[in-house]
Amino acid sequence: MRSRTRENLAGWLFVAPVVVILGLFLLLPILMALWVSLTGWNGQGSPFRGGVPFVGGENYARLFTEDGLARENFMTSIRNNIYYVAAVVPLQTGLALFLALVVNKRRAFFRTAFYFPSVTSSVAISVVFLFIFANSGAVNQLLAFAGVDGPQWFSDARGVIHLLLGDPPAALTEHGLLGLTWWEWLAGPSVAMCAIIVLVVWTTSGTFMLMFLAALQNIPRTLDEAAMIDGATRSQRFWRVTLPLLKPTMFLVLTLGLIGTWQVFDQIYVMSQGDPAKTTLTPAFLSYRTAFRDFDYGAGTAISFVLFLIIVLLTLFQRWVMRERKP
């Protein structure tokens, strides 16, 4: 009996520091923010004083139902992030799988080279890519060798789908949804956003390559050999043997990508600050900007919670499917 009590005490003493830190800087902040998202607090004094106006669901309504700048900015950031996700997730997954397949069973040098960008400082790498994508920078010089006149990457707000489609049909510019016209929704990622997409795909592919590599190394060689004896060609072996066995990893990489791409912030902060013409604005950066630059903490926190909801739903979906797979 006594030893039972002692073990209880020891256990709680061991976890106490972590519990206090995570409670104080993770759980409590979320609860406080939930309150702030229901107020019109402007950053002056404490948000828990009596004088702070309580506005209920107003901050959320401004994002979804009321016509105005808040909704326009928010919907623009959602649009930008959807195009960003749609570009980054397939590209990084494809590149990671491709790299894993060519690197498999090779010298560690290549693995190191492809993985290294993942561990470096996102801010430092963003600085390097600002230089590489500068108006007369490395990328535009390379394009010039090929006879292409490169764009001014970070001041080019034109969407790539707009560039492909040309002039807008009147039907699309006259009507819209949630404060943006259909034509604006269809813009595609802007040229500036494309530079950020290239950077992110380049930095994250290495991490996902390692996941594919680990999975590849767990595939028994005998399977491949058996298929070879049966006369399967190289591409048949890939599509019929290797790829089906990689399905769980593929799912993991795709969902981690989906969850991660909704959180892009550092690169936006360093490279574009949401410019040009709001085409690199993302919900994460918008929430920061709304709170700390416009001092509209209520709306900024409301954006955070909507983003939180998006990410939690994606995470729950991932965990639910992964659980199904386990025996």
Binding site: N8, L9, P17, R111, Y269, S304
Partner: protein, 268 residues
């Protein structure tokens, strides 16, 4: 064919770093005219002189070092204590706590910017070293990694020490921790890399330039002059200083970055 593909991709992945290093040693006109060239002509240290004399780089470096060392030590100690308790000690609420740790791991950092600012502000810690360090000093992922590791270690040694009358902390400190070197190294590296590179937390924790860490100072240096192609050697030099420590750790401890910490001590 495979060789060609590997070579092309190696260039794509390595050349940006070559550009970064080369241009940090170029003059401004040279880097503007020949950004692709791997050879500075003429080579100069002027960018670094300007970084150290013209910016707060010494302050940023000192702050980054302090924050990284304290956070890393804190995480290694606190995460492994909590991981050990969750793996080995039978205390009431253990299962619920583990579920909470798993849930916390899923909370995305970007939605916590404003919430963390609110707490730091409310506690009167905003704009202090405490604000930079304390919220980062424990992390759920580290707890999870250590718990998984301790569960893979056989109990027999601990039990022998217990029979000899050693208390729980004593067993943990002088028996368990010394056996856990691989997992501790992994956790140290992850914490070092994470806290050295940490950027958004500094945005909501401090605003006094005397408290800026290197990523924050660097971001400030760059976003102040967006679009203008000015002084890139200086910015790249500063970025290089931010990259080097993690690069060294990466090269030295490469296998720990890649390895699964569950594998235990015998492999490697």
């Amino acid at each position: 064919m495979r060789r060609v593909v590997l070579t092309v991709f190696s260039v794509i992945f390595i050349y940006p770093f070559v550009i970064q290093i080369a241009n940090a040693f170029k003059t401004d006109p040279d880097s503007a005219a020949n950004p692709l060239s791997p050879i500075p002509d003429p080579a100069t240290l002027s960018a670094f002189e300007r970084v150290f004399l013209g910016t707060d780089m010494p302050v940023w470096l000192a702050n980054s070092l302090l924050v990284t060392v304290v956070v890393t030590l804190g995480r290694v100690l606190l995460d492994s204590m909590a991981g050990y308790a969750l793996a080995r000690l039978r205390f009431r609420g253990r299962r619920g706590l583990f579920v909470a740790v798993i849930a916390v791991m899923a909370v995305p950092g970007v939605v916590l910017f404003i919430p963390k600012f609110l707490v730091l502000n409310q506690l009167g810690m905003y704009d202090s070293y405490l604000a930079l360090i304390l919220p980062l000093i424990a992390d759920a992922t580290g707890v999870f990694v250590m718990k998984q590791f301790f569960e893979s270690v056989p109990r027999s040694v601990e039990e022998a020490a217990r029979i000899d009358g050693a208390g729980t902390f004593r067993v943990f400190w002088s028996v368990v921790l010394p056996m856990s070197r691989p997992a501790l190294i992994t956790l140290t590296i992850l914490s070092f890399q994470g806290s050295w590179n940490e950027f958004p937390h500094t945005l909501v924790a401090v605003q006094d330039p005397a408290l800026f860490t290197l990523p924050r100072g660097l971001a400030d240096l760059v976003s102040g002059s967006l679009g203008g192609g000015t002084q890139f050697p200086l910015k790249l030099g500063a970025a290089l200083l931010a990259t080097i420590p993690v690069a060294i750790i990466f090269v030295v401890f490469q296998r720990y970055f890649v390895r699964d910490p569950n594998q235990g001590a015998e492999k490697g």
